[in-house]
Amino acid sequence: MKRFDIYMSGVGGQGIGLLSEAVIRAADHAGLSVCGVDTHGLAQRGGMVESFVRIGGEVTTPLVRKGSAFLVLALERTEALRAAEAYAASGGVLLYFDTLWQPLDVRLGKADAVSAEDVEEACRRLNVRHMAEKRDLPDVRMQNVALLSRAAKEGLIPGVEMEHYRKALEDLLPGKVLAANLKVLEGQ
């Protein structure tokens, strides 16, 4: 298959590591070649964090070029806008979890917060399909899996099915935590 590039972003602490690891493992369970890379270190302290995943095709580098991700997954609204503007390919998809962690300049009163309309407008301009996910969760730490659930149900990653995502989470999470997350993955 032709390679499918994914760019993910969020704020340090939102659990982007689990999200990207789950996508990588799901693709592997689906029998596809896959590689990826996360930002670690300093960036995790409430700063912007990003992950790249590349599925199928010849593996060159895990890093994706700007403007060439067919799928952008973001865990937060401000980062969704930033991610789409930097990485989304024309004709691609942005899926984000619609929560807001205000960046410093907004909290200092120096900039306006990004609105859901701002993100939609940017997607129209960039010719990117726009999808926002928002749902009540038993624990805010499950927003990453809620996003994964939506991606699975909408079939946003070609060749990767719900059972593959389930197997991926089974690889990564223990007992009770797994059960709670599978509920979010497969539930409404």
Binding site: V37, H40, G41, E58, T60, L81, Q102, L104, R107
Partner: protein, 629 residues
Amino acid sequence: MKNLGEMLLRTEPFSEIVLGNTALARAMIESGTEVVTSYPGSPTPEIASALLSVPGEKRPFYFQFSTNEKVATEVACGASLNGHPSCVFFKSVGLNVAADSFVQLSLLELEGGLVAVLGDDPGANSSQNEQDNRHFARMAYIPVLEPSSPSEAYRYYLEAMALSRRQKMPVILRMTTHVCHGKEKVAFGAWKGGTVSTESRFDTSGGPMVPLTAAALEMKRRSLARLSLAGCEMDSPAFCEVRKGTDSSRGVITAGLPFRSLLDVLEDSDRTPDILKLGAVYPLPEKAVEEFLRTHGQVKVLEELDDVLEKDIKALAFDRGIRVSITGKTDDDDRIGEFTPDKVAEVLAKTWPDMVPLRGAKRQPSLAPRPPQMCPGCGHRSAFHAIRQALAKEDITVADIGCHTLGFLPPYEMGEVLLSMGHSTGTGAGLSLFNRSRKVVSFIGDSTFFHAGLPGVVNAVFNNHNLTLIVMENGTTAMTGHQDHPGAGRNANGPSEAIPVRGVLEGLGVKSIREVDAYSQAKLIELVKEAMAEEGFSVVIARHPCMLKYTREQQRNPDYVRKSVEVNQETCDRLHVCVESFGCPSFQRDEDGTVTVSRELCIGDGSCIQTCPVKAIGLRKENRGGETA
């Protein structure tokens, strides 16, 4: 759930999706590496997390976090001298700390072998510079292998250890950030099992390994001879791969991740050059490079950071009289930043625009960046908020390395200069000389205090310097993922003697020491003012446990109740001290100026409550009664 520790000990060959760092941990086990040492620093700490995922009693190796990179190097060196295959790993700038011992390694007979894994950080993702450690290799006469992917990291480590044991010499495995953190499926070999040998093989029958007087020159001669031998061994197809392109008049010589970026950039190109990918980058594999130069009219050297390969390749072409046009760095920009595919496209287009397909307009996000910051509940935030009130505007603040460095950002702006681990007392002392008009305050974290902070303190006492040092003590090495330090009472293998910061200061002769919990802001302001009013060297210890670590530990408890504060909208006067000055990220500001608290972010620590001039902040009602939120 898959168990990492069990996976690392599998005896039969297997494939698994792993980080580059995890692939190294398996390579250490497969190669029979018996002693591994480190000081935590990005991009390498996940090597330690992988090793430590093997339960203590099952580890076929000994691992320690040492006090600093120099000590880590010395422990690995000593273990190797005694016959244990050893490995030391740390981040790029860690080599500066280790250097005094590191540059001596090649003079010794390293009986067990020693591989130094260096985590260089092109792009300065989490470092104070993007130094190119290949320069150190040249100075220290140590050969360098440089993998470009997790699979290669695994294979090269095995090769590096084998070479090191054969020649009894140190070998560098130079990793870079996105090779350490890259993830892919790696095919691992078998592991025949094993335990750490208890035999002492330290052997000075060839004479003492003391490089003094004439011995230093003899030892250098042996070291150079071994380097040449290693260079010949590494000048092989195992480390020099040629890929044919469509335009064989032109060739690129490259290494590491830039090689992968180049493949990506050339994917949609009709005209592609031949590529010589070097896995051995020092000494230069002369045979492979010479042949490549002789068979191409134009050669581009594509390397990240400095022009190390370029200079060697140009010298080789000159010495051998090869007629070839060689282009390396074309401007300063070519030396700056990580060679991502986007960067490589830019760099390559400056020399061969016809090989880089045109792409759409450059993407420039419209938003201000979101830099890292201190976590909700962080004791450093509480401390900085208070300390700022104790200082006069013209006073000078000196930052050190750790989470507290982030205090240099708005709204705190505490910390105006930064050099390196442990520098703050020394730099602060210098700033205080002949300076009667501006007080100097230096900061340091507790892990850094033990790592490289002590000589500066000793010097301040020894030379009667006039400054205040504030030790920001949170009980852990927080920035790199909560590794234990000498004050923690635990090491990588179990309980250990906790070395108290205060006791160390007293032992070093510091007379003026004050201590306070960083959450007690009024008291902290008072103590800092007192300390600064004194002549001479004074220390204030502002202590509070790392709340990220504490909260994570609490969350494992099934009875954990997540607390949070709230803003009483009737009392709130919209003075915005909480959101603008205290600056906890939990406070969210609406366009009309209303301040609310994000329950996703707030941990209910309450360190903000005291900051509100009109007392509008309090724990949520349900938290006061202990009810579940």
